[in-house]
C-alpha cells in the first residue's frame, strides 16, 4: 500500500469527519476509529516483512527466539495501547486514555521481568 493512498484516505476521512462532527458527533468518532484500523490493515504487508526479517536475523545469530517474542509482544502491546489511548483522547476522554496507557505500561513491565532477571543473574556471575 503506497503512502500517497494512505495520506489521501486520511485527508478524505478528516474532511468527512469535520462535516460529520457538526451533524452527528458520535458517528464521527467511530469513523476515525475505523479509519485508524483500516490504515493499519493496509500497511500490514510491510509490517509482516519486517517481523519475518527480525526472526530470520535472530535465527542466524542463534539468539533464542524467546527474547525476540518478548520484544514483539512489547511492540504489539504498545502499538495497541497507543491506538486506543489516542482515540479516547480525540473523543475527549483524557482520563480513560491515561488508564489505558497505565495498563499498557504494567503489561510491558510484566513482560520485561524475565529479561531483567536474566541480566541481573549474568551480572552477579561476572562479579567474582
Amino acid at each position: 500500500m503506497e503512502i500517497w493512498q494512505i495520506v489521501g484516505l486520511a485527508l478524505i476521512v478528516t474532511i468527512i469527519g469535520v462535516v460529520l462532527r457538526k451533524i452527528q458527533p458520535e458517528i464521527a468518532v467511530q469513523l476515525s476509529i475505523l479509519a485508524g484500523a483500516v490504515i493499519f490493515l493496509l500497511m500490514f504487508g510491510k509490517i509482516k516483512v519486517i517481523v519475518d526479517l527480525l526472526q530470520n536475523l535472530a535465527d542466524q545469530a542463534n539468539i533464542s527466539s524467546y527474547y525476540l517474542i518478548i520484544v514483539l509482544k512489547i511492540v504489539g502491546i504498545s502499538y495497541l495501547a497507543e491506538f486506543g489511548a489516542q482515540i479516547c483522547r480525540d473523543a475527549g476522554e483524557g482520563a480513560l486514555a491515561t488508564k489505558v496507557e497505565l495498563a499498557a505500561k504494567i503489561g510491558v513491565l510484566v513482560l520485561a521481568i524475565p529479561i531483567i532477571v536474566a541480566i541481573l543473574e549474568s551480572l552477579v556471575r561476572l562479579i567474582p
Binding site: 484516505l9 476521512v13 468527512i16 462535516v19 460529520l20 451533524i23 452527528q24 458520535e26 458517528i27 464521527a28 467511530q30 469513523l31 476509529i33 475505523l34 479509519a35 484500523a37 483500516v38 493499519f40 490493515l41 493496509l42 500490514f44 509490517i47 509482516k48 517481523v51 517474542i69 514483539l72 509482544k73 511492540v75 504489539g76 502491546i77 502499538y79 495497541l80
Partner: protein, 65 residues
C-alpha cells in the same frame, strides 16, 4: 474492500444526520432520537468488524496470545 467500509460509514452518518434534521423540522423529535440511535448502532457493526479484523491481525503478527 476496507476503503469502501470507511466510505459506507461516512454515507450512513451523513444520511442519518440529514434525516434527523428533517425529522426535527417536521416536529417528530422522538423519532429523530430513535433514528440517531439506530444510525449509531448500524455504524457500530461495521466499526466492530474492522476492529476485530485489526485485533486478530495484531495478535497473529506480534504473537500476543
Amino acid at each position: 474492500m476496507d476503503l469502501n467500509m470507511v466510505l459506507r460509514i461516512a454515507g450512513i452518518g451523513i444520511f442519518v444526520g440529514v434525516l434527523v434534521t428533517l425529522l426535527n423540522e417536521s416536529g417528530k423529535r422522538e423519532i429523530a432520537q430513535l433514528v440517531t440511535v439506530a444510525g449509531v448502532v448500524l455504524v457500530l457493526f461495521t466499526v466492530i468488524q474492522g476492529i476485530s479484523q485489526l485485533f486478530t491481525l495484531v495478535k497473529s503478527v506480534f504473537q500476543l496470545y
